[in-house]
């Protein structure tokens, strides 16, 4: 479904991604792991078009998406969440999700229809599926950190994605919140047939949830395989899991 080949990206004085390879197949739950600064977030930003790669190929559903703008890539069926809670702080929870549903339905430039009568059902359904329906009228900026992260996922779901990219979905969460978030991720994958690509620091979470794991270091792909394969790999043992 998603194929990343030999991707490179450098900023002024350092190389963030230096030959990353990644393959994601339909229905998989792929985790990207690696130490801080390994280039995980940059990789995600390259895939979703928020950054432009210097070199390499990104194919999604047999289409080159390297050259596309972020909003075009989204239209191809890739939605994402961000590392820091990237929501619309001044809007209500309902509106946050509605914005992305409207965008998906190509209604966001509609001028003469009241927004409050549009895509209400779809929005509610998404809020319900992530458990935020009860807070739909709260101002997003006033939510707890955990709820903000969930809201982010809900926004991403508004795009009816085929591939959902989550950048450290549990960063900054309490253990309980982490558990319930990952439960949500698993359930989304199961119930909605979503393919999910995420990165995560908590190894327990990763090995519990992921069907495949890609290990990055210094911007390069060390290995990609099932959790078992990764666990057995000596290089990874040394480089990364050794200390864990």
């Amino acid at each position: 479904m998603l194929l990343v080949e030999d991707l490179h990206k450098s900023f002024e004085d350092f190389t963030a991604v230096d030959g990353a390879n990644l393959q994601v197949r339909q229905g998989e739950l792929v985790a990207v792991i690696g130490p801080n600064g390994a280039g995980k977030t940059t990789l995600f930003n390259l895939i979703t078009g928020h950054l432009k790669a210097d070199r390499g190929r990104i194919r999604f559903l047999d289409r080159e998406i390297n050259r596309m703008a972020a909003h075009e890539i989204c239209r191809q069926g890739i939605a994402r969440s961000f590392q820091i809670a990237n929501i619309f702080h001044r809007l209500s929870v309902f509106r946050n999700v509605q914005v992305s549903v409207l965008s998906q339905k190509k209604l966001s430039r509609s001028l003469f229809r009241p927004a409050q009568t549009l895509v209400v059902e779809e929005t509610r359904r998404i809020l319900e599926s992530v458990g935020l329906l009860g807070k739909q009228l709260d101002i997003a900026g006033s939510l707890s950190h955990g709820d903000k992260r969930i809201l982010e996922i809900a926004i991403a779901l508004g795009n009816e994605p085929q591939l959902l990219i989550l950048d450290e979905p549990t960063a900054g969460m309490s253990p309980e919140e982490t558990a319930s978030t990952m439960e949500l991720v698993k359930r989304l994958a199961r119930d909605q047939g979503l393919t999910i690509l995420f990165c995560e620091h908590d190894m327990d979470v990763v090995f519990d949830v992921a069907t495949h794991i890609m290990v990055m270091q210094h911007g390069r792909t060390l290995i990609q395989g099932t959790p078992e394969e990764v666990r057995r790999n000596a290089t990874v043992q040394d480089a990364y899991l050794g200390g864990a």
């Binding site: 939605a79 619309f88 001044r90 946050n96 009241p114 709260d138 795009n159």
Partner: protein
């Protein structure tokens, strides 16, 4: 859609009451009141159109007056220099303003925040220079005065009602825009453009559309100014006026819908009434602004919401915010 769906019942009530009062004003008010209210209408529409960008779109349109001027000059020049009916000018003014907004917007939407604002000031100033320097067409810095309006629009009361009608229609249209999916998306862009791209929104195209809409209404305000005063002059396109209308938005409450109207009313009232008492009214304005910044950071209409949230439950506050997306 029924009206009650678009306007909530209470704000509909308030607006209707205000409109009724304004409709009745000529019956008992002095001529100057009628005139200055009409002037407030023009400024209010201008500030409202700017606020669509600044308050709702997070777009730093620093030189909005340029489009007000384009609208006014188009209408004024057609009325003064051609034999065409003035109505042609009335239609052409906003369209020219929107066209100018589109062209300048094309350049500017590639830039962010202050850079956007500065490029916009420069491009707007180029229009100002045309108005200032094209002597044979625009009469340079003297401007053109005494532009004749049709008989229909000669009495000051008629002008008042004409302006009131046009501004009401425009504000209603802006309100529809504000409540539309586009309005919601625009506020989302203001809050977080990066996130908007990630949900498939073409941010620049939305911003450009917002600029076109806003400059169109700025052009309408320009036309109304010509109807009211019969004058066009280059100061209308000078950046100082742009700054003033920006202040009106911030003063009234830039995250609210009606804030700029209040801001415009206060600025004009302050200027007229404090200005008649002391020549240092700008200092008074400065002090008022500083007090406002310290005690009412969300503008005058912004205060409402804060009080509200203290009085009512959080849910009610959020419901109110849902209506305006005004929360802080």
């Amino acid at each position: 859609m029924t009206r009650s769906l678009i306007l909530s019942r209470s704000s509909f009530g308030w607006s209707a009451a205000l409109l009724l009062v304004l409709l009745l004003v000529p019956a008992w008010a002095g001529r100057f009141t009628i005139y200055i209210l009409a002037f407030v209408f023009v400024m209010a529409l201008l500030a409202m159109s700017l606020n669509l960008l600044v308050g709702h779109g997070g777009i730093y349109q620093f030189h909005h007056a340029a489009f007000y001027g384009v609208g006014a000059y188009t209408a004024g020049l057609i009325a003064a220099k051609t034999a065409w009916p003035v109505w042609v000018g009335f239609c052409a003014g906003p369209l020219m303003a929107a066209a100018a907004g589109w062209v300048i917007g094309l350049f500017c939407v590639r830039l962010n925040k202050l850079y956007f604002g500065m490029l916009q000031i420069s491009l707007g100033s180029l229009i100002w220079i045309i108005a200032l320097r094209w002597y044979s067409l625009t009469a340079g810095d003297d401007g053109i005065h005494g532009i004749r309006m049709p008989e229909l629009l000669s009495g000051s009361v008629t002008i008042y009602y004409f302006l009131l009608a046009v501004v009401t229609v425009c504000l209603l249209s802006l309100y529809l825009v504000y409540k539309s999916p586009f309005g919601v998306t625009l506020r989302a862009i203001r809050d977080n453009p990066q996130r908007c791209e990630a949900v498939g929104i073409n941010v620049r195209r939305h911003q450009l559309l917002a600029i076109i809409i806003a400059t169109f209404f700025a052009g309408v305000a320009g036309v109304l100014f010509v109807v009211l005063e019969g004058s066009i002059f280059p100061d209308m396109l000078f950046w100082v006026l742009s700054l003033e209308i920006l202040i009106m938005c911030l003063l009234g409450g830039w995250f609210t819908f009606f804030g700029p109207v209040v801001g415009a009313a206060i600025m004009v009232t302050l200027r007229t009434f404090v200005g008649s008492v002391t020549e240092y009214w700008t200092m008074v304005l400065g002090i008022v602004l500083i007090l406002l910044i310290f005690f009412l950071p969300e503008g005058i209409m912004g205060i409402n919401f804060r009080n509200w949230s203290r009085r009512r439950s959080r849910r009610a506050a959020a419901r109110a915010a849902e209506d305006t997306d005004a929360a802080g």
